[in-house]
Amino acid sequence: MDSALIPEGAKRCSFPKFAIGIAIVSAVVLWGVFAMFLCWFKGLNQTNMNDYYGFALWIWADLAVIAVGGGAFFTGLLRYIFKIDELKNIINFAVIIGFICYSSALLILAIDIGQPLRGWFIFWHANVHSMLTEVAFCLSAYFAVLTIEFIPNILENRQANKVPFFHHLAHNMHGVMAVFAATGAFLSFFHQGSLGGVAGVLYGRPFAVREGLLIWPWTFFLFTWSAAAFGPCFTLLVTKITETVTGKKLVKDNVVHLLAKISGWMIVTYIIAKIIDTIYWALVTAPSLGFTLSHFYSNNGFYGYWILITEIVLCGVVPGAILIMKSTRENPRLRLIAIILGVIGVCLNRWVMVLQIMAVPVMSFDTWALYFPSWQEIATTILPVAYGIILIAVAYRYLPVFPQEQELNTIEPVAEAE
């Protein structure tokens, strides 16, 4: 039915099967869209946020998707700037994942603000001293970069590529992709960083505040570094999931091993920096403001030391160690565990840097504020996930996303179930 659109030589499931799958996920999208409209028309009272929790699930989701979407900029940087050629086999997918993550982040931001129709004030009336301004500018500019990076892949669709202009455009864009990738890396560095800065500059919040370099608190660099470190984990994880779902091998092991190795070393260096930062903050910064470490991890029903240990040791040191050692890295199961832990770790870090900040009491007579999101918040947070699944499914079906797919799958003559 849609065979004319499917890349030549690629095996795809039947269209009805595909359509049913998409329909199921679309139902989730619709649920999310319904919640989104509720938030827009009835206002943010639809959420369980309050004056203590001005930043909550959404901002976490924003930070998390941007962190895991960091695979796109980092892989692009490696591929185009550092000329690691093997990565061309995964760069398309990394870009698509990045595109999904960033478009989701922008969508969530559009729901999250109290006056969505005034959202553009952040650009027009920008306060350049605000980390959030930096986030907004770099985020949208980088989203433009991702779109640009995504376009050639779209144009490589069998039908689109028949159009000479599109064909040439895709070709030419490939030609200057290094420039775009460099710009993207520059922008990413700043917005990943400024997302970290969002928390780090809150000097009224001793749990968040960090010393730093010039105007940038240490969290600025930690966020960039962690996105670069854990982003590829997420790319690998989604690739793995796609491979499992399609039942095909899509990327060669040497590519996966390479990216995993790079990710592993990034994680290790990051986690060392993170440990130093945490120790300095716990022993110097917080005490100078009158806080002991235990203040941040006790007297409440949720946030204990477990979260600190999980984030740093279980989801930082462990995946880092697995991925830097050849034997463990090349063990598919251990590698999978490592990348899952890595993704959890970076998401947990963003959680801590959004929600725990809001939860910790600062005034001596204040109390911990805990919060549980409303269904509207959950639905709108799941929305991007469902949307991402659809976009990946569509892209995989119609675009030549994985250059190695045919090579890896031609030997098998039998059409397998997808």
Partner: protein, 287 residues
């Protein structure tokens, strides 16, 4: 700007916690002065807009040694680190919907500019900022008491105490009209100050030695030698500020004879307080 600051005002407040009775007049006076809306259920204090909020503190001891004190908490109008005007909230607002008036020391909030990102609320450790989760609605007929001096807010924006800035504007109007350079202490007083039946709130210009608030607080114009971010520390040993050690430099000072109350104003490590409590105010730092 800061150089020709010698004529600039720095409006501030000192609240005598030993006089405060927790009666709530300041809160209601503020609400009715500033067109603060109300809704059916206001018992969730985390979504209830009260620019002036009164906290109840206890000394944590058990019966019969327990003690309580009430602490009114308006916006602290922080001067920010080093008192340079980079208040925690002002510096983070992405759209300049809040700024620091160097001529008055007052932190503004402009509702028509705010697009409701709530970053400022996250930045404020005092919970002095409130979000309009709902559209403000007045029961039929009650819009009649709304004051034209303060703009009613819409859903989806942040609001907070303005030190009744409109009263400053009104006072300035008279001064302009009468050809005076400046206003008198009594001409500009906030609604909470004038309402307080116990006279616990004193408001005025911290920069003006003739003003009562200056005389009580005796602010130290120099940075605290032990924490360079802290400026304007009180030289009155009974006076303290909330979370002074963070370097937010609030313009709300509190006064209490009771040591436990003064200690509750900030966070201290074990044993730290005993070492510094007799130093005027109480801040120490590692630098």
């Amino acid at each position: 700007m800061k150089q020709n600051n010698n004529k600039a005002h720095k409006f501030g407040m000192v609240i005598d916690l030993d006089k405060c009775t927790g009666c709530g007049s300041c809160m209601v006076s503020c609400m009715s002065e500033n067109n603060v809306p109300f809704k059916e259920d206001e018992s969730n204090k985390k979504d209830s807009i009260t620019w002036m909020s009164v906290y109840k503190l206890t000394n944590g001891k058990s019966f019969p040694d327990t003690q309580i004190v009430y602490m009114p908490r308006p916006c602290q109008h922080c001067g920010g680190k080093g008192d340079h005007g980079h208040s925690p909230c002002v510096s983070v607002c992405p759209a300049v919907a809040t700024d620091y008036g160097y001529d008055t020391g007052i932190v503004s909030q402009i509702y028509t500019r705010c697009f409701g990102c709530r970053y400022c609320m996250g930045a404020c450790p005092y919970h002095a900022r409130y979000f309009n989760w709902w559209d403000p609605k007045w029961p039929e007929g009650m819009e009649n008491y709304l004051s034209p001096d303060v703009s009613p807010r819409m859903r989806g924006v942040v609001e907070k105490c303005s030190f009744c800035y409109h009263r400053y504007q009104a006072a300035r109007d008279i001064a302009y009209y009468e050809g005076r350079d400046d206003i008198e202490e009594h001409e500009y007083q906030t609604a909470c100050t004038t309402a307080c039946p116990a006279g616990a709130i004193v408001f005025g210009d911290l920069n003006n030695p003739a003003h009562q608030v200056h005389q009580i607080v005796k602010p130290d114009p120099h940075p605290d030698p032990r924490n360079k971010h802290v400026v304007g520390k009180s030289r009155n040993p009974k006076v303290f500020r909330l979370l002074e050690r963070l370097g937010t430099n609030p313009k709300i000072y509190y006064l209490s004879e009771r040591e436990w109350v003064r200690k509750a104003g900030d966070n201290y490590l074990d044993g730290e307080w005993d070492k510094i409590k007799n130093y005027h105010g109480a801040t120490l730092s590692n630098d």
